[in-house]
């Protein structure tokens, strides 16, 4: 598994990716998705394996990095660390910031490694299953992936579906890939090739976040001092080992579900930790079980989310959508064939994720204090610099100013979407899955000679449709129950 990683170049990429991911994770507003999108243009100078190793290392370490800010300034560095704030900050306020971060570091590492094991075993199995899939099955699978958007953490289920449909609509801009007829181009030649993924991602995540930060200038963070990260004591391990294992399982499972990611995983991991705890009254007041439950789950979701991404080409989360784009722009087509034709490449990814989890443990343990200092860089200096990188990175892909305008346009749209409760993640997933949905639908209709009812004659399609129905109804029922 580690053979492809024996080159010094890959190790340098891995170390850089882990460090860069930690910085991204620590800075509120940035995170693995935005960071991955920002660094994607730079990966064009690398070979495919190095590029994906860099992106996966960022994914793993940024997910953990969010915990540092969550514990020390009560602001999640990434959305996935939101649940960590609930107990991490109160424990830090009691003068035990080192203990809180130690627990977060250990549980994140265990969760991350657990999920890589899940990835190594389940991705090939899923890929093998996908050999049975034809166009109709892929269509049903993509629909299932899209309906799962209804249940992602942020936003209401219906608003998420609107955002998902908007993402698919963006993917229809340009020449129709089957007939070459132009759609929504309005005479702009540059639009005939469609809208690039990077301008939309950078706009929706980085630029919209910049606009959000412009509304939060009067925000004051209360920082808790950190002396050093402390490894959990034996009694802490005794108290939390079951929680860590349970949350690792939950996180990996939720990660595998299309479109779900670390945020949902950490919330469920946290609530399950509370439900099973012998001391539920301690939750919210600095419980180490709470920290372990949330952190193991969100890092376990990283490996889980890579399962559908690599085996089926369906992103398991927003960040894996960026990784999927990285694979595609480097000419690697995820899916069952990848497992048959390029096993070395895949094992390189698995191995790099495993090493990234160990690396962020080392960097987190020895360098958390240093990384925490990065949050001292004021937004008024940080965001103009991020803007410069965003603009140049977006321009660099096809050396087109239109991409820059598109990025700014989606930045403004993303800001208003978030302001009115629409998550931007479904737009990205919709954009990624759009071509697959339309392509497989149309090819299926060709196979079925235009008879839509033929979909229901395929058992796997029916199963995915039933799952899609459940994915749609469940969040609505849950919301209704909560409202009642």
């Amino acid at each position: 598994m580690f053979a492809p990683l024996l080159s010094s170049k890959l190790m340098i990429v891995l170390v850089f990716g882990t460090l860069f991911g930690l910085i991204l994770g620590v800075l509120p507003g940035l995170g693995p998705t935005t960071g991955g999108a920002l660094i994607l243009p730079f990966t064009m100078t690398l070979d495919p394996l190095s590029a994906i190793v860099l992106l996966t290392a960022i994914y793993c370490s940024a997910t953990y990095g969010g915990a540092i800010t969550a514990v020390l300034i009560n602001t999640p560095g990434t959305p996935a660390a939101a649940a960590t704030c609930l107990d991490g900050y109160p424990l830090a306020q009691k003068g035990e910031a080192g203990r809180a971060l130690g627990m977060a570091t250990v549980s994140s590492t265990i969760g991350g490694i657990f999920s890589v094991i899940v990835l190594v075993f389940f991705a090939p199995l899923l890929a093998q299953l996908a050999y049975e899939f034809g166009q109709p099955e892929y269509f049903a699978l993509a629909i299932f992936g899209l309906t799962m958007l209804a249940s992602i953490g942020e936003g209401s289920p219906i608003k998420n579906l609107i955002a998902g449909a908007f993402g698919i609509l963006i993917s229809t801009i340009g020449k129709d890939f089957m007939t070459s007829i132009e759609r929504f181009t309005y005479g702009i030649n540059e639009l005939s090739e469609g809208i690039g993924f990077i301008p939309v991602v950078v706009g929706l995540f980085a630029i919209s976040e910049m606009l959000t930060q412009s509304t939060l200038l009067d925000q004051i963070f209360k920082r808790v001092a950190l002396k050093a990260v402390k490894l959990p004591s034996l009694s802490d391990y005794k108290k939390t080992w079951k929680t860590i294992l349970r949350s690792s399982g939950i996180g990996s499972f939720i990660g595998v579900l299309p479109a779900e990611g670390g945020t949902v995983a950490s919330l469920i991991g946290y609530s399950e930790a509370k439900r099973w705890s012998k001391n539920p009254e301690e939750f919210g007041k600095g419980s180490v079980e709470g920290i372990a439950g949330a952190e193991a789950a969100n890092n376990a979701a990283t490996g889980g989310a890579m399962v559908p991404t690599l085996a089926l080409g369906i992103p398991g989360s927003a960040t894996t959508a960026v990784i999927l784009t990285g694979l595609i722009i480097h000419g690697v087509r995820p899916g069952p064939d990848l497992f048959r034709e390029q096993p070395d490449f895949l094992y390189g990814i698995f191995g790099s994720m495993l090493i990234a989890n160990i690396l962020f443990f080392i960097f987190g343990f020895f360098g958390a204090k240093l990384f925490a200092r990065i949050t001292l860089v004021p937004n008024r200096l940080l965001w103009p610099m991020i803007f410069a990188v965003s603009v140049c990175g977006t321009y660099s892909l096809s050396q087109s100013m239109l991409d820059v305008w598109i990025m700014l346009f989606f930045g403004v749209i993303g800001f208003f979407m978030r302001r009115y409760g629409f998550s931007v993640v479904p737009v990205i997933i919709g954009l990624i899955l759009g071509e697959l949905v339309e392509g497989t639908l149309r090819q299926s209709l060709v196979i079925f000679e235009g008879n839509w009812f033929m979909f229901f004659t395929r058992p796997i399609v029916v199963i995915f449709f039933i799952l899609s129905l459940i994915a749609l109804i469940f969040p609505l029922l849950r919301r209704k129950k909560l409202n009642d």
Binding site: P41, F42, M44, T45, S156, I158, K159, L161, I162, A165, F166, I168, L169, T172, D176, M178, T179, I181, E182, R183, F184, Y186, M210, L211, S214, T215, L217, D218, P378, N379, R380, L381, W383, P384, M385, F387, A388, V389, V391, C392, Y395, S396, Q399, M401, V404, W405, L408, G411, V412, Y420, G421, E438, L441, R442, Q443, S444, L445, V446, G450, N483
Partner: protein
């Protein structure tokens, strides 16, 4: 009565077309209907070349779906009104203005100058007053980014006052 209660009461007395729920739903439906109309201008493929469905059918279906879902969101908001949003601060509008200026400067003068200009403008508007840091953000950092992209990625930036000087040197 606190500010939120005051705002809630004020919001209740607002006519429906001033409420966020209506404004957002209206904008989404208006844009969707406009796009839906434009799909009728797409070319139609002759039956012999048509594979499955017409190129306009899929976007039409999506736009119908968006309109229906938005109508449901609006209907639900009548029962459960949305949370009242805080007014956007001036710094937001200044940032938006800086985007417009960025577009104007990069189109008329220079791409690099536009980045520099936006960086100093935003940094200043967001409260930075130390000249050294303003220089770092607006000149030194963009130069580093510019050189990095130009030398490592082999990027050629669009022509402009400063870019032309750089390429001539």
């Amino acid at each position: 009565m606190n500010n939120v209660q005051k705002q809630k009461r004020a919001n209740k007395s607002l006519p429906f077309f001033f409420k966020d729920e209506f404004k957002v739903s209206f904008v989404i439906i208006f844009i969707s209907v406009t796009l839906l109309i434009s799909t009728f201008t797409f070319d139609i493929v002759p039956p012999i070349l048509n594979r499955g469905i017409q190129p306009a059918t899929f976007p039409k279906g999506l736009l119908f779906l968006i309109i229906i879902l938005t109508s449901i969101v609006y209907y639900l908001s009548i029962k459960n009104p949305w949370k009242i949003k805080k007014k956007l601060p001036n710094s937001f509008f200044l940032t938006m203005i800086s985007f417009v200026l960025f577009v104007v400067v990069s189109k008329t003068l220079d791409f690099f100058l536009a980045i520099s200009f936006l960086s100093i403008f935003i940094s200043f508007c967001w409260g930075e007053r130390r000249v050294f840091y303003l220089i770092v953000v607006s000149i030194i950092f963009p130069i580093i980014v510019f050189i990095f992209f130009e030398t490592i990625l082999g990027l050629r930036f669009p022509p402009g006052i400063i870019t032309n000087i750089y390429y001539q040197v």
